[in-house]
């Protein structure tokens, strides 16, 4: 912009004598410029340049107009992908939070939840009914014990279930140790008020949220 203003500015009087030019008035300058251009450009009588330029559309580039996608996406909340989740460590429990006493209230809550779910755990309620409810229940806060396992060192670990993933259970033991126990090839026992239920971990390898929708087949005996 500055350069253009400079070009269009009038030459100062001091330079007129030096350069040997004289600035013309506005109308005279316009007429001179037009006449000069007419003489310089090759006049082709065949083509009427002005009309050509006014009516023709010159295609310079080819682009499709972009569809408006951003409007739809902004309504749905963007989740984090697995890498971001791992980097943010949202599912990790900090060491100062890994204490058994902190999870005891959760265990009480879970007991109440299960008793409500099975509409009161009476000794007369049928095991079938309770099993059906337990299959779809959420197990966070239950006290799990590994009863049988193909790997002997897992057998006997007991604790409150803190997190349930697709393939593992994370359990906190009384010694404030967070143990990760794979579900496969193990049998877990869940105890509620004297009612003990055995869970075959190999058949339980779904996320807790997806398990509520899954139908379980009835099998006679299951070998580890």
């Amino acid at each position: 912009m500055d350069a253009e203003a400079l070009v269009r500015a009038t030459i100062p009087h001091t330079l007129e004598k030096v350069l040997g030019v004289e600035s013309q008035s506005h109308s005279k300058a316009a007429a001179f410029t037009e006449a000069f251009l007419k003489n310089s450009i090759q006049q082709t009588t065949r083509h009427d340049l002005k009309s050509m330029l006014t009516h023709k559309a010159v295609i310079l580039g080819y682009t499709r107009p972009k569809k408006e996608k951003t409007k739809r996406n902004s309504k749905k909340a963007k989740g984090l992908n697995a890498r971001q989740k791992r980097a943010m460590k949202i599912f990790q429990i900090k060491p100062e939070h890994q204490r058994y006493e902190l999870f005891l209230p959760l265990q009480e809550l879970w007991k109440q939840y299960i008793i409500d779910l099975c509409s009161g755990l009476k000794p007369t309620s049928s095991p079938q009914f309770v099993q059906q409810k337990l299959l779809k229940a959420d197990l966070h806060g239950a006290i799990l014990t590994v009863v049988r396992s193909k790997c002997p060192s897992y057998v006997g670990t007991t604790g409150i279930l803190v997190q349930e993933f697709k393939h593992v259970f994370k359990i906190i033991t009384k010694e404030d140790k967070l143990k990760v126990i794979p579900k496969r090839n193990s049998v877990f026992a869940v105890e509620i008020d004297g009612f003990v239920s055995h869970i075959y971990g190999s058949k339980f390898e779904q996320r807790a949220s997806e398990r509520s929708a899954k139908k379980f087949k009835v099998r006679g005996t299951i070998d580890l």
Partner: protein, 349 residues
């Protein structure tokens, strides 16, 4: 069906010939390693009645105790460990448990406890173990081998507490148990005997006098036919092979001689290697006397259902489960030792 019969399960026969005068002979080591022997049979040729020394020796074999329904965690009892296991010399074996179906327990004199468990029991117990070497593809049997003299298995140690918790609360293992202790006898086993129902037994001795026994010439006989012949004598199988009887077609191997009389003595029970050792020495003295038979045969059978055969090696039953050895002693202090095992066994020492 016929394909199965064509392939009989293999058995292993190890033959050794040496002399008792040679100081490098391994006879005492081999005898010592078969911890659990069930039956000893002795064949004395040209003998009409048992010599008195032999009789007294046979009746002085250590007695053994049968404890009914012993829970196995009692074998980890502190008193029992102090009195019986740590000094060495305790022999224990579970009774009437089949090695291919039930859980079997063996306690060896060097302080090793061997549990042979089926798959469910092993998964319940929760102690480290290895799958059985035979039939390892189907993984249906597991062997837990524990050294009770090790520092981690001392009472109060980590391994001890884990095994005790496993046997007490997770896997309730009860079996009848045969127990014996070599130098100590009943006093060492007192901690266990006090609390459970037990009965004392002495090995049964039976004698039989045979007449007109055809016997092969031992030096020129091959081991398989010799062992077959000894088996027929021991089991009272007729060797006539008459055309009218189809029960047995076994014959005495040729060339053969006829003995006018022979004595067959057998002892049954939980027999301990030190006693068998004394018996071998006594038979050696018997052979030194002139005018009597020039050879003696002694066969020692191990238990079919024991989890271990020689030393600590695993033992299994496929169709026979035999593990035995036959010692043929001659007048000139030389001997032939034939060690035989069945299919699910490793090579004897």
């Amino acid at each position: 069906m016929s394909a199965e019969l064509d392939r009989t399960p293999r058995n292993l026969l190890l033959c050794e010939q040496s002399s008792l005068l040679d100081e490098k002979n391994r006879l005492s080591a081999q005898v010592q390693q078969l911890h659990f022997s069930y039956k000893v049979s002795v064949l004395l040729p040209e003998c009409s009645s048992a010599p008195s020394h032999l009789d007294s020796l046979l009746s002085s074999f250590s007695s053994f105790y049968l404890i009914r329904n012993l829970p196995i965690y009692e074998l980890l009892d502190k008193d029992f460990l102090q009195k019986a296991v740590y000094p060495g010399g305790v022999y224990g074996l579970s009774y009437r448990t089949r090695i291919d179906e039930d859980n079997c327990v063996a306690l060896m004199p060097n302080g090793h406890l061997c549990l042979s468990l089926d798959k469910d029991s092993f998964e319940l117990l929760g102690f480290e173990g290895k799958p059985c070497r035979f039939n390892h593809r189907s993984r249906s049997r597991f062997v837990v081998s524990i050294d009770l003299t090790d520092s981690s298995m001392a009472p109060g140690g980590r391994g001890y507490l884990r095994l005790l918790a496993g046997l007490r609360s997770r896997l309730h293992l009860h079996t009848d148990f045969l127990l014996s202790h070599h130098p100590g006898g009943r006093a060492c086993l007192q901690p266990l005997l006090l609390r459970y129902d037990w009965s004392e037994h002495t090995p049964e001795v039976s004698r039989c006098h045979l007449t007109n026994l055809s016997c092969p010439v031992l030096q020129s006989c091959d081991p398989h036919s010799l062992l077959e012949w000894l088996g027929t004598v021991d089991a009272d199988v007729s060797r006539e092979n008459s055309s009218s009887s189809f029960l047995s077609s076994l014959v005495c191997p040729d060339p053969n001689t006829t003995l006018s009389s022979a004595l067959r003595v057998s002892v049954c029970g939980l027999l301990l290697p030190p006693d068998i050792h004394r018996l071998i020495q006594e038979l050696r003295h018997y052979l030194e006397r002139p005018l009597l038979g020039s050879w003696v045969s002694l066969t020692v059978h191990g238990f079919v259902d024991s989890p271990v055969s020689w030393g600590d090696s695993e033992h299994g039953v496929l169709r026979g489960g035999e593990n035995f050895y036959t010692l043929l002693m001659f007048h000139d202090h030389s001997y032939q030792l034939h060690l035989a095992t069945g299919a699910h066994d490793t090579c004897p020492p």
